[in-house]
């Protein structure tokens, strides 16, 4: 376990800012309890300072996980968000998409979201914007990236892909052993 280098922090923030924008400040500068980002086995964990200090006592090869896993660095040093970061993304997300009950299952199996399944979408969402996906009961079920802007939506046919799938809560079952 070690703190992120400057370069790694930038890559991480760049990715997170796609979903939460300026709200990322609330993650870094928390009034309730100081939190920090830590790298362990190429995974980035968002962890409170108290827990981080305690985990220092555990040997590196014995430590499995700590705090909340936000994602991992790939071998090409890109950052990939995991669904475990969903709680924090949903909390501060700027753009949201709600999907109808009949679109929930296809999304939770890892498919992109078609126009027919969209219930609601935040006004003026640009193209290629990170969005958090909710079901109609306002429960966050994943996140993705818009394929079209809201302005274009009306003209498209119902089968057109509107949101690219990135992560969904179904991964808790599908990728249980690699997720944390």
């Amino acid at each position: 376990m070690r703190p992120l280098t400057e370069e790694e922090t930038k890559i991480l923030f760049f990715k997170l800012a796609k979903y939460v924008g300026k709200n990322l400040t609330y993650l870094v500068d928390r009034p309730d309890e100081p939190h920090c980002f830590r790298l362990h086995k190429e995974r980035v964990y968002y962890v409170s300072e108290a827990i981080m200090r305690k985990s220092v006592n555990i040997a590196r090869n014995q430590l499995l996980s700590l705090g909340t896993c936000f994602g991992k660095f790939t071998k090409t040093r890109k950052f990939r968000l995991h669904v475990t970061a969903l709680d924090y993304l949903a909390q501060y997300a700027k753009y949201k998409v709600w999907i109808k009950p009949n679109g929930e299952m296809p999304f939770l199996y890892g498919n992109h979201i078609a126009k027919a399944h969209i219930g609601r979408i935040t006004e003026d969402t640009p193209q290629y914007q990170g969005v958090v996906i909710y079901n109609m009961a306002d429960v966050p079920i994943g996140f993705g990236m818009t394929a079209r802007s809201t302005a274009e939506l009306r003209k498209l046919d119902p089968t057109a892909v509107i949101v690219f799938h990135q992560a969904d809560v179904g991964e808790y079952l599908r990728d249980e052993n690699t997720l944390f």
């Binding site: 376990m1 070690r2 703190p3 280098t5 400057e6 922090t9 930038k10 923030f13 760049f14 800012a17 924008g21 300026k22 990322l24 400040t25 870094v28 500068d29 100081p34 939190h35 920090c36 980002f37 830590r38 300072e49 981080m52 200090r53 220092v56």
Partner: protein, 285 residues
């Protein structure tokens, strides 16, 4: 009142060889030079009459030259058959050199060694008495007693190979000696050049460093990065660059500051996103 003496002196002053100056001139007869610091007439110099100015300057110059020549006639003379020569005193003014003071020659390795050991060069005669021919011969060179290249017979020692050419052996040895000397000359020259360029650098240490750098480079230049290469004796261990990270359990406030700084960079995006040159180009068209 008798003014005759005053008039007399006035008459003498008007002679061409007699020049009056308020401040006496400074002479440096070694360089045949006189310097005049008397003030020139401002009215003539600043005036518009160029003819008067020229005349004035010519007069001042002539008088200066006259004074210098007067001084020269006071010098001790040395008559020769055709003329009389005056001996000039040592020059007072020190003229600066035209060229740089030559740099001391960089010493060769042997010169430095000899100096450290206190070895002095001894003068030896060029000719030596040769007992075999009973005459004087040069100490070295093609006609010296030492040169056996042209002897009509070559004695063969017991250990020598009877079928080898002894003359070729002598020739080869000489060639080798010459080559060795040439290599050393080259080395001395290179070291001297380096010393001129970088006086603080020890050439031998630098050479060693270069060699070690080349060695580490070549060792890691195989497909397996030198993993299976044979190790040399006393091969230097290559230290890689060690990555350094910030302390794992640092104060959270410290980390927050740097994180917020980076966050600002990410959110604001790169500074000056407008390419000014391109923008100007577009507006012109």
């Amino acid at each position: 009142m008798d003014v005759s003496s005053v008039l007399e002196s006035q008459k003498q002053a008007s002679k061409a060889t007699e020049v009056q100056r308020v401040i006496p001139l400074d002479y440096d007869l070694g360089h045949l030079m006189a310097s005049d610091i008397n003030v020139l007439d401002d009215k003539v110099l600043g005036g518009s009459d160029s003819a008067a100015l020229n005349q004035y300057l010519r007069k001042v110059t002539r008088e200066g030259a006259q004074l210098l020549i007067n001084q020269m006639f006071d010098l001790p003379t040395n008559p020769t058959e055709t003329s009389v020569l005056a001996t000039l005193p040592e020059p007072k003014l020190v003229l600066p050199r035209e060229k740089h003071v030559p740099k001391p020659k960089t010493k060769t390795r042997w010169e430095r060694f000899a100096e450290a050991k206190g070895i002095k060069k001894q003068k030896r005669s060029a000719m030596v008495f040769d007992d075999a021919t009973e005459e004087y011969k040069p100490r070295w060179g093609s006609k010296s007693a030492k040169n056996t290249a042209n002897d009509w017979a070559v004695p063969l020692a017991e250990k020598d190979d009877p079928f080898a050419d002894p003359r070729k052996k002598v020739r080869d040895e000489k060639k080798e000696r010459m080559a060795k000397n040439q290599r050393r000359q080259q080395r001395n020259q290179e070291e001297a050049e380096l010393k001129d360029r970088l006086p603080s650098v020890d050439p031998r240490a630098m050479k060693k460093q270069d060699l070690q750098r080349a060695l580490t480079l070549t060792k890691t230049s195989t497909a397996s990065l030198g993993k299976f290469d044979q190790k040399l004796k006393d091969e230097p261990r290559v230290k890689g660059i060690k990555r350094k990270f910030k302390p794992t359990a640092d104060k959270a406030s410290n980390e927050r500051e740097t994180s917020l700084g980076l966050l600002k960079q990410v959110i604001d995006g790169p500074k000056n996103t407008v390419n000014v040159r391109k923008a100007v180009k577009k507006t012109k068209m």
